[in-house]
Symmetry: D2
Subunit: 344 residues, 4 copies
């Protein structure tokens, strides 16, 4: 009963096969090989537009490097206070941007609102040299709480950002989970809704280690390639990263895997909500279930061998906030087993 | 006839298999999984000492991150002027160290000498606040020219460094090639000769993407893990990097692959030296052959379909310096074919 | 009627004279001259302990450089959300620390509380590599709102910081104003209360441009001199900065000037509080008065020629928050004149 | 007999008076005050063109900040190997540019040549992502050896830089000394010869602490003000820096002071050249004399109380290279006294 993280599962067999499939041939690499060309073409096709794609090793690198071409070092990037870039990357954004401030904004269900950003913006008046300057907006789709922005919400945020001279970044570490939940096209969820640059993650959804920075706004690309190299994220054998994406996209594997983990989270939610003592902390929209329960229940779960993450910091609290994540590899049986435990 | 780089070849089948072999199981990753534990144990065994090992995505990241814990931002790192860190990493060392100067030192055959470092040191007097301070020494084994340091030379350099309060880093992007050429043990070539930290590369010698920072001097480790995370080089599914090392070390695969490419370079050298018009630019000691030839010969080779790197910058020169690299995948036939072309 | 800032006034004549007084003589400078020696001796005497003192050009540099030796680049510095370092320095702390996050904490009257810091600390668990690490605590004495910490409060905060492995920095841009308000000794308000490093400002209180970083905790000094030089804050003719401090300390000028501006602020407060329509936003403890009034009153003041800073961002609000600052040069007459306007 | 540095002298009385003269009045400062306006107007008049002027505390800050808007962090700035930015600023350029490499170039008499820069440029091919990119050219006028570039030489270097997409920076720490030596106009020596940005120093030539960054190329100014603030170099009471320039320019004081120190250096040179045992290391063109002499002579000078800088690092050498600097305050008598010693 492992519900700690979707990164606990290995790689989908289809993706492993795709890696093997690109092993032959002698290529110069560094994103100039035919595998990368094919990978880029597929991104363009999937997103129905011209894109610039760069491969990196982790979602942290993807986010931090994307931000580094949006904001000056003395800029402020507006993000939800719970955003991965603000909480879980040990200062990678500050490192790659060389000093940017993350303006952390509160918002229900892990989501930014224009009102929240507008209020924060008053601390960064344009042209006042004593103040850091508006540097960009970053939203996570899905959010850290597993919730999703509607297309209209993304549109509103990116328009607001643009009206203040800022570009919009989307942290898509769980892009596929959000996409299938929203049921729209990749284009609709991104550039058509005003997103300038996307951190597109595949690792959490079945890849070995495959993350891409995808630029829709070509004006932003600028010197990204130099920054990528400088961060040690330009791979000599780039085919092995690109190859994972080929396997990921083939026959819509990525959508199937995401649907599976989303569905399981839905099944888990439904089961828990039939039981007393469990309360949803926010709507279950993708592959994560955030639920509050008593310390006693937490203890019982742990004793039964369930593994999960206690999200709230304070172990002294009576009610604990627990995160349960389903991965592409989670099974119906594992969910049922956990529900069995939950029933007590 | 591809002799451009050893990164042109894909991965050795044994290593691909090792990747598959670690795919099962649910692990938290981030270098805490059992595959990483096994990988670390193997490093300790191979180097016959306690080591701290960290995985990163590229040799560039490995070098830059290693340097970042050796030198202060206002330090100078002494390296050969042709070193990868000085020439080929787009400023990654400067980025990760946040401003270190690479003090570039001349030296025959791509090798540093104590005399060279001593002369350069006079520009960085200790305790003079106007000057950058001695920050570390970095040597490449094998060097960018494919030559190698003897154990005595490494010893002398590291002792010299230590006597000036500096740690010693070894760029081991082609560690295995140097090791089998030198015929000593990994321990002898590193910590027993005074090396504090090693960038251990496997990618050029048959891995997909597997680079490790190996600390022999535990006092240096310090906050490396935070810097690694901050650079976006801490992998959630670290098993897939660690797994490559398991395959790399198994049954001495790494040594076999390195011997093969070294031998082929030797064969290529021998063949060329029998022909008029070809001159070695430096001794062939590992898997690279640096040879000078006339522009006419270069042209003939190119027309015959040979692919290689023209090392010297100036295309107007009559004699051109050419680099020929044999990989783990290069065959006797390919070498013979190239020699055929060379014969004209 | 200029109440915008205490930096609007020029320099006290005594300080100008002190600058002239050190003009003779040929000195090597760079803080090695006899004027600097004398200045350092005076700091030691005033603070009744061994200190390390470094001169810089601005309070911003003083704060940022002080923080740079307290926190690693991946550290979080805890400060009040309204702190100068968080709001008014265009990212100088992030620049000098090379990426530190300022963890902004709310607190009544511009003051940090242990409770506030404790809550914020939960986001930075020690040893968790994904999270930025506790890097230091910074408090401002006087605060941006002109309020002051009691010695007990400083003690509690620094003890709390220390118990979490953090050093304590005091932003003393208005140190003298706080000191005379508190009526204790410089030692009591700083190192005896656990402060490790102090940004000691004289510019706002009558100097031309004189700021010092004062280390009580000698273990922290480390490589400060290199960082100072690297920031371009090591002065060749350091005597002219040091000389200002000689004039500042002579015959307790600094205390006299601070008392004068504090007293005037008190007089202003008393006068305003007798009138309807004015409300104190926080206690007046030093040389600043924060008062709320209607937009109508603001307009009347402005029309009468009064100059002051509207602190609250939103001009649409009915009640406006206004800052009134008295400087060492402000006169009784100017305060009376403003009160006249206030009376309407 | 103090010939160590021109920073050993205090400030010219005229400049001290100018500081006093701007003390009255209440100004908001931060380079927005009337004194700064007047200072900027004078710069425009002296340089006969539109300029953007920013004040900073030291020559080191001036150089480093100027470079920071010319080059990307992954850029290489071409400078003479003996340049102040390369040798004497403890990595300030690397700090402010956030990682730029200084490409150190040899050249006779401390001067860059186009040939030298061209050769160095081959290491930084445009568009090759593995290499740092051409980032700018910096020349010192006068040089660290007291020599000067002719207007034609400046022109050639800046044209060369421009043809490679680089801007040209002039380190003018001793601008006035070079100017009066060259006998041309400030405009001819700078923007008319292609200089984009100038670090204009007054401190070495009689000011207390007055350095300015002067932009001729307005396209470069960009976000300089934010970088200046972030470095802690935006002064609240900026009038006191600007006021020094008013005194400096008034009645051509700056030219008179520079002429005086240049003349004295000439007198010193002439005297020494009449004596056996002294050899010029390079032409004496401004206020510095570089002379080689035997260790015995060095000792005799030292015993006679002469103070000077031994430039060459190696005390074991038989011939020593000695630097003798005349300041605005050096007198005929002091030079004669030194010549007396030299005569033995």
């Amino acid at each position: 009963m492992f519900f700690i993280s979707d990164t606990m599962a290995g790689a989908a067999p289809e993706i492993l096969k795709a890696v093997e499939a690109v092993n032959d041939g002698l290529f110069l690499g560094y994103e100039g090989d035919p595998v990368c060309e094919e990978m880029k073409a597929q991104f363009a096709k999937i997103f129905e537009t011209e894109v610039s794609v760069f491969l990196v090793a982790t979602g942290t690198a993807s986010n931090a490097l994307a931000l580094s071409v949006m904001t000056p070092p003395y800029g402020a990037v507006f993000a939800h206070e719970g955003a991965h870039i603000n909480v879980d990357e040990c200062g990678a954004p500050e490192f790659y941007t060389q000093g940017t401030k993350l303006a952390a904004i509160k918002g229900a269900n892990g989501k930014l609102t224009c009102e929240g950003v507008r209020a924060a913006l008053t601390n960064f008046p344009k042209g006042v040299v004593h103040r850091m300057q508006p540097g960009g907006l970053s939203l996570s789709q899905a959010t850290e709480l597993g919730t999703i922005y509607t297309v209209d919400e993304i549109n509103a945020l990116s328009e607001f950002a643009q009206s203040h001279g800022m570009a919009t970044h989307m942290d898509g570490a769980r892009f596929a989970n959000a996409l299938v939940a929203l049921g729209c096209s990749p284009a609709e969820m991104t550039w058509r809704a005003g997103v300038d640059v996307l951190s597109f993650g595949a690792t959490k959804n079945g890849a070995l280690m495959a993350e891409a920075v995808v630029f829709f706004n070509q004006d932003l690309v600028g010197d990204f390639a130099y920054r990528q190299k400088r961060g040690g994220h330009l791979f000599s054998k780039s085919r092995f990263s690109a190859g994972q994406f080929l396997g990921y996209f083939k026959d819509d594997l990525w959508l199937k895997l995401a649907r599976r983990s989303n569905d399981l989270a839905g099944r888990l939610e439904a089961g828990l909500m039939e039981l007393p003592g469990y309360e949803l902390a926010c709507p279950v929209q993708t592959n994560q279930v955030f639920v509050t329960m008593s310390r006693e229940l937490v203890l019982r779960w742990q004793e039964a061998g369930a593994q999960f993450y206690i999200w709230s910091g304070d172990p002294a609290q009576e009610r604990q906030l627990v995160r349960l994540v389903c991965s592409w590899k989670t099974t119906d049986e594992q969910v049922d087993q956990l529900l069995e435990v939950a029933r007590g």
